[in-house]
Symmetry: C2
Subunit: 402 residues, 2 copies
């Protein structure tokens, strides 16, 4: 509520509910004040059958979810021996003994069923009341995740049979939202009311998503498939993937299918290209490594960029990015490489190379693609955009993208 | 609402409102359906004076915010020539001509004031109605940001004089939430009702935040300062920073103050350490670069890790991480280096080195700190944790953390 924490929990919870075929009505984010939590519980229970709550189960003074839930449902809080045992055992394994602060955590609403959480001291709380389901989970993301995926499922599994929302997504590269709309909207004039099209733009890509509620349309699954095929045919080579996958993963799969290895030589992107590639499991099959050559010395010593090239052409130049790319191929022994050099900002801009001037290159000594970007955003976004553009250029190089 | 997109917009909006001294009452996340948007607008206007809306101003069929807002306020939508001019000029600069689809974007609620947005086709919408302020902004994060920081401020600037919420944060490293609570809670038994303490745990760190509403307490600012000092004295060397700063930035500032340079040698962290460091502007003052040595060949060839060390001790070993660190220092000429090698998972684990076994090292040939981590999470989180732990180890090495 103060702009300091990004909420990823509600995304995981939505993903989970969606996988059960449930349609998410609303998300509320509320202050740690009992009367506010109660108000939101009242609103949520008006239009929803299942209410998931995240956060506020810990031992510290800002943890008031259980009190608020008990007050809302008008049930007392009772001391739970099972909670105490769990906290004790959890702490014992770590060589810590239970203290008074943690005893606060052992009070639960009288009618609550406890949900296992081996990853932390707070157990999940599951309550059926007045035909509604309330489930409170810890706010620590991996603890909430565990409860969603394991402990909660046995209580909500029956909902999976209800059907509900269907969706299909595709990822588009190299085209903006409006350019896509110009091509596909004329093809969707007969799209049934029950199917919604969403455009989800990201840096360098747009995800198109068709969704529909099974209850509202006949043959909805077939219809979504039918219209998605129509969109895919029209956008042809700009369709990067059949779902909203990260570009680095699409590139990785493509490299693996072609039996090619990759390395990187990064200056202004500072390791983000390499991080994105290696964040996918199995990437060691095709990713050999990279060099973050922030200093000129690293460029010369490790990537063998001639001192002369940097002096005469400049460190932000077509020649330098090409030499960096060749250096990466040679030092790693990879089939192809990705290289970047430029000025991410906010400082370092010159008249010739203003902030946002970034050269990217993909290929090897036999064949190479080079592109000059002129970005106009802040440092974070420029680094992000150059990284995504380098993946798009690599997909183009592998003739996967038009 | 489907678990596919993480909302960062509401965080930026909260940050902005907070900077004006406003207290955020609630955040709502709602389906792209007119009746739902209207319901939420009605609820929000009950307990708030300023209602910020993000998304749904684009030209495509899922963009219905303006229709919903007009319906809620019972004002007609009118065609705006100024909107048309903006869209035309924006597209012309990019060599595109306006089409029918974009004309939809030019309808605005009759009583709306337009807010400049040079970064996209959708202008912001600002409406004062019934003593409340409604502001609709595009969902594209940097466009919303621009409007918040520039175009909206001239209309909401007067609110800044109202006072409101105050807060102070500190970042704690090397201690868990409960360990912190055990030390500080006994010192806070007399904390005034008007001041709230929040524990915000992250991977390897905890942010402690004191907040209070100026209207609810006298001398609130002095009181928050007083209690924060008490907490800081008690936690001593575990206090990493006077606000919730990224660890890489704290490390960078420390390096700069000491006049030291840094390089990296990353295996399992795959470039994330390097990315985190270089994502801060000015990092080229102390960061020389790094090597992502994913393959053994890269470790041997670039970082001069002896083939024998890898063969006899294994690639995930104390000896290898030490040799990697020395290699990074030597190839970059840096004063100190950070190195990592391990198994992030999910594959690659052995009996001796199960998934999550990660060695990290900080220092140089004269003095070195090495730590073995035994992480138990998924790939993403293991990479993240190893990166944060390496920053904490580096701060410890620089005698900044106990």
């Amino acid at each position: 509520m103060l702009g300091q924490v990004v909420d990823t929990n509600s995304v995981r919870a939505a993903e989970y509910l969606f996988s059960l075929g449930l349609s998410i009505q609303k998300k509320y984010c509320v202050q740690d004040r009992q009367e506010e939590i109660i108000k939101v519980l009242a609103q949520a229970s008006l239009d929803s059958d299942v209410i998931l709550i995240s956060g506020g189960l810990g031992p510290t003074r800002d943890d008031i979810t259980k009190e608020a839930l008990a007050a809302f449902l008008a049930v007392p809080l009772v001391y739970s021996d099972r909670c105490e045992l769990h906290v004790k055992q959890y702490l014992e394994k770590r060589g810590i003994s239970m203290n008074e602060i943690q005893k606060v955590q052992c009070y639960i609403p009288e009618n609550a069923v406890l949900l296992e959480n081996p990853l932390g001291t707070a157990l999940g709380i599951f309550i059926e009341h007045g035909g509604k389901v309330y489930c409170a989970m810890p706010g620590v993301p991996y603890e909430m995740d565990f409860i969603l995926q394991n402990s909660l499922s046995e209580h909500l599994g029956w909902l999976g049979r209800q059907g509900g929302l269907l969706h299909e997504s595709i990822l588009i590269g190299g085209m903006g939202e409006t350019a896509i709309a110009e091509i596909i909207e004329p093809l969707l004039t007969d799209l049934p009311e029950a199917i919604k099209l969403a455009y989800l733009p990201s840096i360098g890509t747009v995800t198109l998503r068709l969704t529909g509620d099974e209850k509202l349309g006949v043959d909805l699954k077939e219809n979504i498939k039918h219209y998605m095929e129509r969109i895919k045919t029209a956008l042809d080579k700009n369709v990067l993937a059949d779902s909203s996958l990260p570009l680095a993963l699409i590139l990785g799969r493509r490299l693996k299918a072609l039996g090619l290895t990759l390395s990187t030589a990064e200056s202004c992107t500072g390791g983000l290209i390499s991080h994105r590639i290696s964040s996918h499991s199995g990437s060691s099959d095709y990713f050999l490594g990279g060099v973050v050559s922030y200093s000129n010395l690293m460029k010369e010593k490790v990537l063998s960029v001639p001192e002369q090239t940097i002096e005469e052409r400049g460190v932000v130049s077509e020649e330098t990015v090409k030499m960096m790319l060749l250096g990466a191929c040679s030092v790693s022994g990879s089939d192809i490489a990705i290289a970047s050099t430029g000025i991410a900002g906010p400082g370092g801009g010159t008249e010739e190379n203003p902030v946002g001037t970034i050269w990217i290159a993909v290929g090897n000594s036999k064949q190479m693609r080079v592109k000059k970007l002129q970005l106009k955003s802040d440092r974070t976004r420029n680094i992000e955009a150059a990284t995504n553009q380098s993946f798009l250029l690599a997909l183009e190089h592998l003739q996967y993208l038009q």
